[in-house]
C-alpha cells in the first residue's frame, strides 16, 4: 500500500510540471496593444483634514505596447482629459478645474510617457516615465502587475505623487494641513492582443 502511494506521488510530481508547461505553451504569443478604453480606470485618493476622499478621471486615452516575450521594449503613453475629473463632490469638481488647481483652460491634458520598463520577476514590472501636469514634468516610477488571460491582459499599478510639485492647488490651497501633498494614484488598463496578420 505504502509503496503504491509513493509511486503515485512520484508520478504526480513528475507530471505536474508538464501540465504547467502545457498551460504555458497554450498561452498564445503576441503583443498586446489593443487598449480597451471602456475598461480603463484612473483613480486617486487624496486627504483633506486627514479625511481620505476618492476621485477618478472619466476620460483617459492610453496607448500601450506590451510584448510578454520582450517586456523591456514595452511603451506606454497616457493622455488624460483633466476636465473629466470627479474629485468627490460637485463643489470640488467646479473648484479643481480652476487656476489654482489644474487650470484646465491653459493645461487641458496631463500626459505620461514611459521611458523604461524593468521586469521584476513573475508578472511584476517597474515602469518609469515622465509625467506632465500643468506644464511641469517629473519622473515617476510605478510598479505594474500584468495579468494575462488568453488574449486579454490587465495592467494594474499605483504610485504616490506630490501635488505641489505640479503646482496643483497653489495659493491658499498649498496649506498641506488642509489638503495633503501626497495623492495616491492607481490605474487599471486592459488591452487585447494585436490581431494576427
Amino acid at each position: 500500500m505504502q509503496g503504491k502511494k509513493i509511486l503515485a506521488a512520484t508520478i504526480l510530481s513528475l507530471a505536474l510540471p508538464l501540465v504547467g508547461m502545457g498551460a504555458h505553451a497554450a498561452q498564445p504569443a503576441g503583443t498586446f496593444d489593443q487598449v480597451q478604453p471602456a475598461k480603463n480606470r484612473i483613480d486617486f485618493v487624496f486627504k483633506q483634514m486627514n479625511v481620505p476622499v476618492k476621485g477618478h478621471f472619466k476620460k483617459a486615452k492610453v496607448d500601450l505596447v506590451f510584448d510578454p516575450a520582450a517586456p523591456a521594449n514595452s511603451t506606454v503613453r497616457l493622455d488624460l482629459d483633466l476636465a473629466s475629473i470627479d474629485a468627490g463632490s460637485a463643489d470640488a469638481n467646479s473648484e479643481v478645474v480652476g487656476k489654482p488647481w489644474f487650470d484646465i483652460k491653459s493645461f487641458p491634458t496631463a500626459t505620461f510617457v514611459s521611458s523604461s520598463v524593468k521586469p521584476l520577476g513573475g508578472d511584476r514590472y517597474e515602469m518609469t516615465g515622465k509625467l506632465t501636469i500643468k506644464g511641469k514634468t517629473r519622473d515617476v516610477t510605478t510598479p505594474v502587475t500584468v495579468t494575462q488571460n488568453g488574449n486579454t491582459a490587465a495592467f494594474d499599478g499605483g504610485f504616490t505623487l506630490k501635488r505641489l510639485e505640479f503646482a496643483i492647488g497653489d495659493g491658499s490651497w498649498s496649506d498641506t494641513s488642509i489638503v495633503a501633498d501626497e495623492v495616491k494614484v492607481s490605474f487599471h488598463v486592459e488591452a487585447e492582443r494585436r490581431a494576427a496578420k
Binding site: 483633506q48 483634514m49 468627490g88 463632490s89
Partner: protein, 180 residues
C-alpha cells in the same frame, strides 16, 4: 432645597458641556454652509463634525445619568400644563440632540466624505456613497436642526422666565452659581 431637588454635579457638568458644544455647532453649521469652497471652509466643516460627534459621545454619560439618578421634580408652583410641556420639550431635545449629529455623520458618509474624528480616528461609514441618499440626509439634518434651534430657544426662554418672572428655583438647580 433638599437633596432630591438638586441635579447631581456630573449631571450639571455634562448638561453644560453639551449646551456649549451645541451653541457653538449651530451657528458654525449655518455659517460654514454659506461659505464658498476654501481651505477655511474645509477646516470649519471638520470642526463642526468633531463637535457633533463629541456631543454624541457625551450623550452616553448624559443618558446614563438621566436614567439612573432621580430627576428633581418641577417646582411646586408650576401648573400641570407647564410640567407637561417641560417634560415633552426635554424628551424631544434629547431625541434631536442625538438625531442631528447622527444625520450629519450619515450625510457626510453618503456624500463620500468619511468622518475622521479630531483628524485622528476614522469613524465607520454607516452608509456607502450615494448621492440621492446624501441629499435626503442633508435635508433631514437641516430640518432636524431647525427643530433643535426652536426647542433650544424655548428651553432657554422657559429657564429665564422661571428665573426672572416667576423667581423660582428652576434655573438655579442647573446653575448652582446663581443660588440666591
Amino acid at each position: 432645597m433638599n437633596a432630591s431637588n438638586k441635579y447631581s454635579k456630573p449631571a450639571v457638568i455634562v448638561h453644560w458641556m453639551v449646551a456649549i458644544l451645541v451653541l457653538v455647532a449651530l451657528p458654525l453649521g449655518y455659517y460654514m454652509t454659506d461659505l464658498s469652497l476654501s481651505p477655511r471652509k474645509l477646516q470649519l466643516i471638520s470642526w463642526h463634525k468633531w463637535i457633533g460627534f463629541t456631543v454624541l459621545l457625551l450623550l452616553i454619560p448624559r443618558l446614563f445619568l438621566r436614567l439612573t439618578r432621580p430627576v428633581p421634580a418641577p417646582v411646586d408652583t408650576m401648573p400641570g400644563w407647564q410640567r407637561a410641556v417641560a417634560s415633552l420639550t426635554h424628551v424631544v431635545l434629547y431625541v434631536l440632540i442625538i438625531a442631528v449629529p447622527l444625520t450629519g455623520w450619515l450625510m457626510s458618509s453618503a456624500k463620500g466624505f468619511p468622518v475622521v474624528y479630531l483628524g485622528l480616528i476614522p469613524l465607520p461609514d454607516l452608509v456607502g456613497k450615494d448621492e440621492a441618499l446624501g441629499d435626503l440626509l442633508k435635508s433631514a439634518h437641516e430640518v432636524l436642526t431647525s427643530g433643535l434651534l426652536i426647542l433650544v430657544g424655548l428651553h432657554i426662554a422657559a429657564a429665564l422666565k422661571h428665573h426672572i418672572i416667576d423667581r423660582d428655583e428652576t434655573l438655579v438647580r442647573m446653575v448652582p452659581l446663581l443660588k440666591r
